[in-house]
Symmetry: C2
Subunit: 241 residues, 2 copies
Amino acid sequence: MAADAAPAFVLLDRLPAAGEELRVEGDEAHYLSRVVRARAGERVTATNGAGTIATLEVLESRPEVRVLGVSSRIVERPSPRTLWCGAPEGDRADWLVEKLAELGVAHLVLVDFERSAWERASSRLERWRRLTAAGLRQSQSAFRMTISAPVGLPGLLTALPPAFAGAMALPGATLAIGDAPRPAGGVTGVVGPSPGFSAGEVKLLQEAGFIPVSLGPSRLRTETAAMAMAVCWQVGAPQES
Amino acid sequence: MAADAAPAFVLLDRLPAAGEELRVEGDEAHYLSRVVRARAGERVTATNGAGTIATLEVLESRPEVRVLGVSSRIVERPSPRTLWCGAPEGDRADWLVEKLAELGVAHLVLVDFERSAWERASSRLERWRRLTAAGLRQSQSAFRMTISAPVGLPGLLTALPPAFAGAMALPGATLAIGDAPRPAGGVTGVVGPSPGFSAGEVKLLQEAGFIPVSLGPSRLRTETAAMAMAVCWQVGAPQES
């Protein structure tokens, strides 16, 4: 639960090989030197966000941050959790992204629905992708959440495999999400935008294999429903190893 | 999922009796006239946040909002979910409060822990209590979440009944929260502050009957862990009726 109590964990696009020196820059350099105040000689953990975890030794933390590769290992990728998500209200997307990354969602797919499309996504996408780094540092996962640019529902549906089974968050659904099928190949869920799915979209999703599931008795906002689905996937999920 | 698609639902400290006229003021008047744009003759649902749901007829929506009591009913109080929560980082408490209210937590108890206390709570408490109204409107519950002013852990523990059983969110715990006991009288959970529990606090909590539970493999921020616990309580919970 404790960000501050956490050992330093950084995201580096390229990890140094054992014995290799690397200069760390940007956000991660700031995080190491200013946030966790790593000192020369200390060891920190790093990931490339693509399945490799490395142990690094800090050679220098000011004025520039230099690290030495000590060891690294490959982490087995857990079966992916993919969330198709409509646009929440206002500026709620920022923490939606942070929380989904923190909760181990592998792929966030932004979906434009009839009643609401993602606004200014092109300009906000880079910001959201940066936020996934914070979620990854917090969760200390070896896998960084991906975010795909908004697409319309029909295009997504045509790309689904024939025997697809997913979960659709629908108020009043009788099946609890915990009882929904969890395909070994990974789970996929869809959450509507703040105005909700249209009747036609619900029909399309069901025909495509999305089963209506309940996230509890309350009507939830889009970002809350998305997070609740991620929590339900996360609870009891195996530890990365 | 859909705030915009929701029927109007307002929180009134005092509900009109059947046939009684009432003038609505403040946030709720704004919500009725500006947000959901209720028109004269329309019916809206209201609650006092204390277990009564009323049907009201809008008599006038501008310039002032006047409603007529049509009918009302008492809702059975669900067994309460109580969350003891340490302080999250920065300004994350605002949405923590909104989300817990939205997810049906009955009582939020702010706890000052050794490593972190709630700052400026006295000045922020009123704001947080206002935020519970938004959560209640969204979840359309008849019960408004209470928030108690920050207290130290020892005082809270002495007030617990002898046979108390609760859940403590602890990274690395082996028991999944779904498998934790759910006393008929209501569930109680505790989440540490952003720097985490001290070792002494973990011992005190366990001695008091809090069982360590896991919220999944990721290390979660305080506000995320609190929300995850609320989601786990909420999923599969019975509908208010």
